[in-house]
């Protein structure tokens, strides 16, 4: 088993001025499950392909364990890959598909058999070993693709959107299966996805990327609660964090945030930091997660300085929770997540209290989180 280290890694394609990946520095620990996430074109797959050896590294160093592997061919890097388009070999049965990589590396027959059967048992596909890929369902094919990687017993697993071709139900199931499997195998895994739910639920650590740059690398908890900038704050969380542009003012010894529909007091701890950094009297962007709006009377009663009034334009009841699309707060719709049994309806006026201890404040120009800077 081994860790992976990227030092000042760049990827530039011929004929383009802009690098697809810029100054990428990351130390991935042995046995860590690291997720690369970001919108399409952010460089996450390119980074993974560089680690795999499928793309040349334009600049910088890549270590697997203690070895620099920039010039090592993919087959000699001791990695195993699982792609979105898991091209199972159509003319081979499941057993042969899983055994092929080992056969190519001249493993003994009994060793191949042991590994294939063990991986098949782990993935619960023992009964499929004689079948051809054509006779398998999507989920079964994906498990075979995983099996093909597992039998290699590599130092590092690389997975590029491996669940994207599956339907939602199967994806949730496979997500849990992969997480369990990786914990059992105790192998380093680098996983690329565009899906933040996948990232949050699977990763020990998540790297959020945008335009080829790392925006933040942290645990799911830190990313959610302490995003370093507007992009990370908006990217992690569904529905996304609400952003409201407004002004901070000092009034009666307290700092208040004012914008259309808002005149709320900032808690003293946060106010102190804002004063110290000279944000009083300036425009800022306030970030509020949908679940930090509260409709419960007890909460409203306890938070007289953070009340807002709005009209419900649309309500989406998912049973256990309800999303309210609110008018009258800031320039755009604000989304609140409340209890599904709250009984709130469209076109109704609603009074909500904001949990001001959980707000985020972003600099309007740099878009950095003022509390995290």
């Amino acid at each position: 088993m081994a860790g992976v280290r990227l030092e000042n890694v760049y990827k530039k394609y011929a004929g383009t001025d802009k690098a697809s990946v810029t100054d990428f520095n990351l130390d991935i620990q042995d046995k860590e499950f690291l997720v690369l996430v970001g919108p399409s074109g952010c460089g996450k797959s390119t980074t993974l392909r560089m680690i795999a050896g499928l793309e040349e590294i334009s600049e910088g160093k890549l270590y697997i364990g203690d070895r620099v592997v920039n010039d090592v061919a993919p087959k000699d890097r001791d990695i195993a890959m699982v792609f979105q388009s898991y091209a199972l070999y159509p003319h081979m049965n499941v057993y042969q598909n899983m055994a092929f990589g080992l056969k190519l590396r001249k493993f003994r027959k009994d060793e191949i058999d042991r590994r294939v059967r063990e991986a098949a048992r782990t993935l619960e596909i023992e009964h499929l070993l004689d079948r051809k890929p054509k006779a398998l369902s999507g989920g079964q094919r994906q498990r075979v693709a995983l099996g093909r990687a597992i039998v290699r017993e590599p130092q590092v697993f690389l997975m590029d959107e491996p669940l994207s071709n599956l339907d939602a139900k199967l994806r949730t199931q496979m997500r849990a299966n992969i997480s369990k499997l990786m914990k059992r195998l105790e192998t380093t895994c680098i996983y690329v996805t565009h899906d933040q739910t996948e990232a949050m639920t699977m990763g020990d650590r998540i790297v959020v990327m945008k335009d080829g740059f790392i925006q933040q690398a942290a645990t799911p908890d830190v990313l959610y609660n302490h995003p370093v900038n507007l992009f990370v704050a908006g990217f992690i969380g569904a529905p996304a964090m609400n952003f409201i542009t407004g002004q901070l003012v000092e009034e009666g010894g307290a700092v208040r945030f004012r914008a259309t529909g808002f005149n709320v007091e900032v808690p003293e701890g946060k106010a102190k930091a804002l004063r110290a950094k000279g944000y009083i009297g300036r425009e800022i962007i306030l970030g509020i997660r949908p679940e930090d709006f509260h409709e419960e009377p007890v909460f409203i009663e306890a938070s007289p300085n953070s009340i807002v009034n709005a009209t419900i334009e649309v309500s989406e009841n998912l049973g256990h929770e309800m999303f309210l699309y609110l008018n009258g707060l800031g320039k755009d719709n604000v989304i609140a997540r409340v209890d599904g049994r709250s009984g709130l309806r469209e076109n109704q006026n609603v009074k909500l209290a904001i949990d001001m201890n959980k707000i985020h404040v972003f600099d309007k120009d740099s878009e950095l989180n003022i509390f995290e800077a």
Partner: protein, 365 residues
């Protein structure tokens, strides 16, 4: 010869050295002999041209921007013969490799001469293996020179992947023809007694090509393009299929940058468009584009690409792009509003598809 070697040679000779590919006719025009061999040289006015490799009708040469003495030329010629380049034939090669290279050279010459109906001549030792139905793959491997697999490595890997009856035939530099028994298609079919339908065959061929691509890039990395054709009897139609597959890769790379698996049955429109004179194409693009910056927006291009690849199915396209159906409808409406073309109507969809293909080609110029 790679750049590093050229640079080193340049430093040794204190002159600039560049690689060139000439045809036999061009070589003769420069004053060279009729059947040039590796190490042959011509002294031009201010440069010396030397053959480093003969690949069918192509002569790979180096041009040294200096007047070389007779001794220098002899020494350089000797060095080139001793392995200044990758071995292209014979020395140390197995019988099979030598036979395959001979066949490859004949194929290359016939393709260059445009002899599309040429049948494999009796003098080719491998001829007797080319009378059964075979699946042709054309492989273009563009690994860095030091990472490129040797014939032996590649042949062994491909044989274990497809079957022992597979033939690997080197054509040009980095280019290989793979002929594998068409029994591989029957093996892929889980219901053995059924005859494979046409569409099913194509689907299997595409999956095989994808598997082969994954295998080769997974072993050696680098860029690798693969085209696959429907089964042929190689003794009769190997020249024609090489021409078709080469054209398929050319069109695929020209119109679909980023794609590495190319299928001849998916590039009909591209073939047609490629044949239209440049001036006519440019005029068409100019006349049709309501807004010249429409396709500079990468989101619009990826949306349209996905929409056409999903046969204009809104739900499937939204799923493929991981966006909500309404977001996709909004994007399509925006295109309609800005370009005046509604891709949900058949006629406009045809026009936009053509425009998009042409735009991708003209943009890169």
């Amino acid at each position: 010869m790679n750049k590093t070697k050229l640079q080193l040679l340049g430093q040794l000779l204190n002159a600039s050295v560049v690689a060139k590919v000439l045809t036999g006719v061009e070589w003769e025009k420069e004053g060279g002999n009729k059947h040039p061999e590796v190490g042959d040289a011509i002294q031009l006015k201010s440069a010396c041209l030397m053959v480093t490799r003969v690949n069918g009708a192509e002569l790979h040469c180096i041009e040294v921007a200096a007047t070389l003495t007779q001794v220098e030329k002899q020494l350089l010629g000797w060095a080139v013969q001793q392995g200044g380049t990758r071995p292209n034939s014979s020395s140390g090669a197995s019988d099979l490799e030598r036979q395959a290279r001979r066949l490859g050279e004949w194929i290359q010459q016939s393709v260059t001469a445009g002899e599309w109906r040429a049948e494999v001549p009796d003098r080719m030792e491998l001829r007797n293996r080319l009378f059964d139905g075979m699946v042709p793959f054309l492989l273009l491997c563009e690994q860095l020179e030091d990472k490129e697999p040797s014939y032996v490595e590649l042949e062994k890997t491909i044989r274990s992947f497809i079957s022992d009856e597979t033939l690997l035939i080197p054509l040009r530099e980095h280019e290989w023809l793979i002929l594998s028994s068409d029994r591989v298609l029957m093996e892929a079919d889980s219901e053995d007694d059924e005859v494979l339908g046409h569409e099913e065959t194509k689907e299997l061929l595409a999956t095989l090509a994808e598997g082969l691509h994954q295998l080769i890039t997974g072993e050696w990395g680098g860029e690798c393009h693969i085209a696959v054709g429907e089964p042929i009897i190689p003794s009769e139609s190997v020249i024609r299929i090489v021409g078709t597959l080469r054209e398929t890769i050319f069109l695929g790379r020209k119109f679909h940058v980023g794609m590495q698996i190319h299928l001849p049955w998916l590039v009909h429109l591209e073939r047609l468009l490629s044949g239209i004179p440049e001036m006519v194409r440019s005029r068409f693009v100019e006349e049709m584009m309501g807004r010249p910056d429409l396709f500079t927006d990468s989101e619009t291009v990826s949306t349209l690409d996905a929409f056409f690849s999903m046969d204009c199915n809104v739900s499937e396209t939204a799923k493929k792009l991981f966006i909500h159906r309404n977001t996709l409808l909004y994007r399509l409406d925006k295109i309609k509003h800005e370009a005046g073309l509604d891709v949900r109507s058949f006629n406009d969809a045809v026009l936009v598809r053509i425009l998009l293909l042409l735009y991708k080609v003209t943009k890169r110029k």
